[in-house]
Amino acid sequence: MTFIPKPKISHPSLPRNELGLTRRDYEGALSTLCAGCGHDSITAGIIEACWGISVRPENLVKLSGIGCSSKTTAYFVSGGHGFNSVHGRMPSIAMGANAANRDLYYIGISGDGDSLSIGLGQFCHAIRRNVNMLYIIENNGVYGLTKGQFSASADIGTKAKKGEVNQQPPIDPVLLAMNLGAGFVARSFSGDKAQLVPLIQAGLKYPGFALIDVLSPCVTFNDHEGSTKSYAFTRENYEPVVEADFVPKQREITADYAAGEAMSVMLHDGSRVVLRKLAADYDPTDAHASYDYVQQHIAQGEYLTGLLHCRPTVATEFHALNRTPDAPLNQLPFSALNPGSRQLEKLMARYR
């Protein structure tokens, strides 16, 4: 928590994006989280990502539930639309909003408590329905707001601040999402923006449900020795296996990838996600193979990071499945939205 607001002054030669905006224009209110919280780094990553792909602030919808993580939607893009839902119910709100207006970017911020305990059902069904949104889990393994009890993502054997050892198996959101058929599944670390920012950009552009599970150390309750989600432990055990680059439509792929190691996934607007494998025996486009690979490495105590699974899913995206109109509801004429009382009578008659 900080007592002076961040000064409005900025670096005189801060770069501007296509909209003429600087990074500072994508900031929100000042964070009231603990100093050093991983969530604040993720917030900074989101700011950088939105600025980088020139998201219009008014085209961004920020949704969250309850928890430390869910506070963070207030800390970026203050010009966007925000909604804080009931604990664990953010996916329903995102679903409804997305159904009404498909033209906006949806970014849901949740935590391991909000998504893997109270909101686990909501989380699973948002994946099943393939809602076009970026779903970020700020995963720190503890309930920070209630002073550090183990959450559902705490690993077996990890130690709480006061010394007790967790014995319940964790729910891994990456494996769960792959299992449920998500088309874009990534894991990253709050302390690695070089990896995180392109993932957020790709996830925002991906036409379907995109999950990024971000390891985000709780500096107050879970950053001690014996914790498997501390800064030190994460730094030692995280293993980038697939690098992702987001390449906008207008730009050529210029990065010098060695032959065979790069593959690109085309998105509906002509932009691409370029995947670069760091592990030779890994195929991130194959759902089964990637599931097995990730699971094996978890068993070995390694956090694989990067875009672990990515495939085109346009056909199964929510609006495609439900054959909804191409335009958002607020652009449809009243007559199309409201067929009138005669049509209602007809409909009602069928049930009489």
């Binding site: 607001p5 670096h11 100093a35 150390p217 800064y231 730094r235």
Partner: protein, 594 residues
């Protein structure tokens, strides 16, 4: 690029741009904070410690600090450092009991200073508390040198001079007014002095030898001599049309003095365009505000007389060609133009003159007839004879003279202690945390968006009524209170301890001016290209930490536009960043080990 050695006294000193730019190294942010607290006497004494004449300099300093001020790099205008100095001087209480005591038991060493200007007075100020007996010889009946004779009283009132000079003279200086030194040999041989300091200034105005100069002598005046005559009330009026030749600060004083003596039309004639003017921007502004016309591209050709009396001057109209960097590459005369004048003032520079120094005393002079002076010790080629102020390296300004005086005093003290003058007392640096609590710092760390305040002036109607009406009124209490908050407290340094860093990015994310980056180590030119915001100002240092423990990356800070808000330290969970006040120890004679 290896990790930065912040233990070197210069590293953090450079971050305090104003203090680094000041020849006397005044602790500017410190005194501005003291003003903010209403501690005017304390603020005055912080000033006096380094620059000796805060009241004088608060009005007429050349302000090298202000162009250097970091505030000028994050917004349009620097902090009004100079005018805040005047606030401290105007509102101080009696401070004399807080000056060092003057020993009644003298050390037996006698020092002669020639010329009672700022350099000699500084020497006396530094040596009197050490037990020296200092004698100052002054040709005029008043002390102050060019500060009194060349700076008009509407910019620098006599009362301010009297007070600050009096403080030094009252230390027991033997001030011999009206005593012109005619022979250095006599002084050296018969004076019985252990060291002699020459602070006689650059008292000779440059001549303009063009046709008609000799015939028009009655109405053609050398600028600095003319200002001197005004100061001593020997000149009390001037003709209707006045031309000033030259466009330095002396020219500005001349044109504004002419207006006060009754001139109706005053034109400053400049040979080159405005970007080549030597006068400070604010002095030009003040002159133009008083309806002085500055005419550019006019090169003096001849004085025109009629019936043996000056009628005006003929000028060549100049045209220039510039290269891409704005330098003149070619010039040509496009025509001639006549300007009527009843009086002409020549303000085209001044030089030192030493007709009273015999050339066989062992004091070597160079080909421009200027004595050879060591730039560190200020000693001439004759041991025991020192030069300082304009007498040493030609015309500079008051604040440089003061620093010359400090350095010469160190040399004189060394010499009298029997130590080599080249052995200088060491510089130093102290750091002290400003942390008071979780989110509390013992300085105002919030950034104030306030714009630079403008000093109120006496109305154009009032100011010409008398020659000595001070034009600038000084900041009002409200203005001063606002202006002090514009200071960025650059002396409260961001101090980093790499061992404590857990690489959480919190400092990088919060920094309002994007001056922090964690990146792989590399050479400086390369590092500058991969920072979070471009670091193109190579005059400003990059701080590079030791390798960080998890990733071996380094923390890099571009010092260029840091606003010292302390948010990096406030967001740091491990206190790897701390805000620490730097105390630059710039030694004076009193700091020497005996």
């Amino acid at each position: 690029m290896t990790s930065t050695d912040t233990s070197h006294p210069d590293y953090f000193h450079k971050v305090v741009d104003c203090q680094w730019a000041c020849p006397a190294h005044t602790d500017v942010p410190e005194y501005i904070r003291l003003i903010a607290q209403g501690r005017f006497t304390d603020a005055y004494l912080v000033n006096r410690h380094s620059n000796v004449f805060p009241g004088i300099l608060g009005r007429v300093c050349d302000r090298p600090c202000e162009p250097a001020c970091r505030r000028g790099r994050v917004e349009e205008k620097p902090v009004a450092i100079c005018r805040l100095k005047r606030v401290a001087a105007d509102h101080k209480d009696d401070y004399r009991d807080r000056l060092p005591a003057i020993p009644t038991q003298k050390n037996g060493k006698k020092i002669a200073c020639i010329g009672a200007g700022c350099a000699s007075l500084t020497v006396a100020n530094d040596l009197m508390p050490l037990g020296y007996e200092v004698t100052i010889f002054e040709q005029f009946a008043t002390a102050g040198g060019l500060m009194r004779t060349n700076i008009p009283s509407f910019r620098l009132p006599a009362a301010v001079l009297d007070e600050e000079i009096g403080t030094i003279v009252d230390m027991g200086v033997d001030l011999r007014l009206g005593h012109r030194v005619e022979s250095l040999r006599a002084l050296l041989e018969e004076g019985g002095f252990d060291a002699v300091f020459v602070g006689s200034g650059a008292p000779k105005g440059k001549e303009l030898n063009i046709p008609g100069r000799h015939e028009a002598a009655a109405n053609v005046h050398i600028g600095i001599a003319w200002l001197e005559s005004i100061a001593f009330e020997h000149v009390q009026n001037v003709g209707k049309n006045v031309l000033i030749i030259g466009v330095g600060n002396t020219a500005m004083d001349c044109c504004r003095s002419a207006l006060r003596l009754g001139a109706q039309s005053v034109k400053v004639m400049a040979r080159k365009p405005r970007q080549f003017f030597k006068a400070s921007e604010w002095e030009l502004e003040d002159a133009e505000a008083e309806s002085v016309e500055i005419v550019i591209n006019r090169s003096p050709k001849s004085f025109v007389l009629e019936g043996g009396r000056l009628k005006g001057m003929m000028f060549e109209v100049m045209e220039y060609e510039f290269d891409a960097r704005g330098r003149i590459v070619a010039e040509r005369v496009a025509g001639e133009e006549f300007y009527p004048a009843d009086d002409v003032i020549l303000a085209i520079g001044q030089e030192n003159a030493f007709p009273w120094i015999e050339r066989d005393l062992g004091i070597e002079f160079d080909k421009w007839d200027v004595p050879k002076v060591d730039p560190v010790t200020f000693e001439s080629t004759r041991p025991g004879v020192f030069f300082g102020g304009d007498a040493a390296f030609g015309p500079k300004n008051i604040i440089w003279s003061v620093e010359h005086g400090h350095q010469a005093a160190i040399s004189i003290h060394q010499r009298c202690l029997g130590k080599p003058v080249s052995e200088r007392p060491p510089r130093g640096m102290n750091l002290q945390s400003r942390k008071m609590g979780m989110h509390e710092w013992s300085y105002a760390n919030d950034y104030s968006m306030t714009e630079r305040r403008l000093v109120p002036h006496v109305s154009l109607k009032e100011r010409f009524k008398k020659l000595n009406i001070e034009v600038e009124l000084g900041f009002t209490a409200e203005q001063a209170a606002a202006e002090v908050q514009r200071c960025l407290n650059c002396d409260v340094q961001t101090v980093f301890d790499a061992k404590l860093c857990i690489e959480c990015d919190a400092c990088i994310d919060i920094c309002p001016v994007d001056c922090l980056t964690m990146t792989a180590a590399g050479p400086e030119e390369q590092l500058r290209t991969r920072l979070k915001a471009p670091a193109t100002n190579v005059t400003q240092a990059l701080y590079v930490s030791d390798p960080l423990k998890f990733t071996q990356r380094v923390m890099v800070k571009d010092e260029d536009v840091c606003v010292h808000c302390g948010l990096c330290a406030e967001r740091c969970p491990t206190a790897a960043w701390d805000m620490q006040k730097s105390w630059v120890k710039w030694p004076h004679a009193a700091d020497q080990a005996v």
